[in-house]
């Protein structure tokens, strides 16, 4: 029997029919067409499917679809504001902190959760927090540097992003 569930997805109300055996990852990718969240191992070891459920970082592959009824889900698709990249996304590009890119959405979602929890992490804290996100291309160093730089920028200018967004909207109008 399919379950008719309602949830908040990146701030928008969503209704979807899910099979009991579908994972949240399956629901996002196959039912809702949000393919930014990746499937790596499917067993909670690699972190590629990292998403937020009720403000808690989890692996989308380890949550059953029906479990998120009434909950708030945030994915990589909710990270940029329109054309304006999140500072983490910008610093990942600046540092070339990705090669094949499969792990990148998971790293970004996990790093954003870290900075919400701890805006001024040490390198060691970043490495431990992201220990559940595996990358087979970069050797991690560029990722760690991108997160540290994004954290520093976000601490200094929490409003800069809003201003940039205003400017872009103004220019567009």
């Amino acid at each position: 029997m399919k379950h008719h569930i309602q949830m908040s997805l990146n701030g928008d109300p969503v209704e979807v029919l899910v099979e009991p055996s579908q994972t949240l990852l399956d629901v996002l990718r196959d039912e809702l067409g949000l393919t930014g969240t990746k499937e790596g191992c499917g067993t909670g070891d690699c972190g590629a499917c990292s998403v937020m459920v009720d403000n808690r970082l989890v692996c989308g592959c380890l949550v059953l679809g029906p479990e998120v009824a009434g909950k708030s889900v945030e994915t990589i698709e909710g990270m940029a504001e329109g054309e304006v990249l999140h500072p983490l996304q910008r610093h990942f590009l600046e540092h070339a902190a990705l090669q094949c890119g499969i792990c990148t959405p998971g790293f970004l979602v996990a790093a954003k959760a870290l900075l919400a929890h701890n805006p001024d992490p040490t390198e060691t804290e970043v490495r431990y927090w992201l220990a559940g996100n595996l990358c087979r291309c970069t050797g991690y160093d560029k990722i760690i540097r991108a997160v540290m730089d994004a954290a520093a920028e976000m601490r200094q200018a929490p409003t800069a992003r809003t201003e940039l967004k205003d400017q872009l909207q103004h220019a567009g109008a």
Binding site: L64, E67, L130
Partner: protein, 285 residues
């Protein structure tokens, strides 16, 4: 496969006791969903217990803390009072998996997964924790050391499930600790785990102790001889040597890729010493 998320204990018990169903209880799902995916299990009914209030709350009671079976590791670590009263239990559950796993993994799930190497279980056993169980014949309490009988085999009867874990009140000058050995720094399964909870008097003499070992037998062990080696001592060299010997004597480990019988046995003694030293220091602080 059917999925149900009852809101009451009675409804959950009725579902779990349904005739002709192969049922599984879902708490955080970090083991269950892996077993589903790898076809290790094929239940016809999954009962999600997280909509039952008692499974999701940490309550301070006259008798200590009642921790819901499905409260996540992250929530336990964020609970300042629980972390200060039972630091060993909280550090043990915090060792399970990554940040993502911590968002879901629970004491109840770690216990009922039935692994001899579960990190939180020796810590709960050392703490004297009791599992609050609900089932078709009502509720009962099972000391945590009596829940796992063998790998994946529990003492729960059909229809029963763990609703919450009762951690006792902490006497003065008492503390607990948990240490594990893994060949890397993060995210691995214990080769050996050791939990110690002890109380000391004003002069520093140990008045009460419980010692538990994980991953060195077919089930997590409560090692009474090891506790006896500590009680009455001030954790001097002789007591630590006796603790080490008692822990080694209790080991009945397997040889596998994580460690040989000899290695696990020796490490159990060393880890128990270190864990006892940490608990003793905390108890004096």
């Amino acid at each position: 496969m059917r999925y149900e998320a009852p809101e009451t204990l009675d409804a959950a018990v009725a579902l779990l006791a349904s005739a002709g169903e192969e049922t599984k209880v879902l708490a955080g799902g970090t083991d269950l969903l892996v077993q589903l995916r790898t076809d290790l299990i094929a239940p016809t009914l999954v009962v999600d217990i997280k909509n039952i209030d008692e499974t999701r709350t940490i309550a301070e009671t006259a008798g200590g803390f009642r921790v819901g079976a499905a409260v996540s590791g992250a929530e336990l670590a964020e609970h300042a009072k629980l972390s200060s009263v039972w630091p060993g239990v909280v550090e043990a559950v915090s060792l399970i998996g990554s940040t993502q796993i911590q968002g879901r993994a629970s004491l109840g799930g770690n216990l009922c997964n039935g692994s001899p190497a579960a990190d939180s279980v020796p810590a709960m056993i050392a703490a004297g924790a009791v599992a609050n169980v609900a089932g078709p014949n009502g509720r009962r309490e099972i000391p945590v050391e009596d829940v796992i009988l063998a790998p994946r085999k529990l003492s729960l009867t059909p229809g029963e499930f763990v609703v919450s874990i009762q951690l006792p009140a902490r006497p003065a000058r008492a503390a607990d600790a948990y240490q594990r050995f893994i060949p890397r720094t993060e995210m691995d399964i214990a080769v050996v785990g050791a939990g110690v909870s002890l109380a000391r008097d004003e002069a520093g003499k140990i008045t009460d102790a419980r010692v538990s070992l994980g991953a060195v037998a077919s089930r997590p062990l409560l090692v009474k001889d090891a506790a006896d080696a500590l009680i009455g001592s001030t954790l001097d060299a002789a007591a630590l040597t006796a603790l080490d010997a008692a822990c080694q004597a209790a080991c009945q480990p397997i040889d596998d890729k994580r460690g040989t019988i000899d290695f696990r046995t020796e490490v159990a003694g060393v880890l128990a010493r270190r864990t006892a030293e940490i608990a003793y220091k905390r108890a004096g602080a």
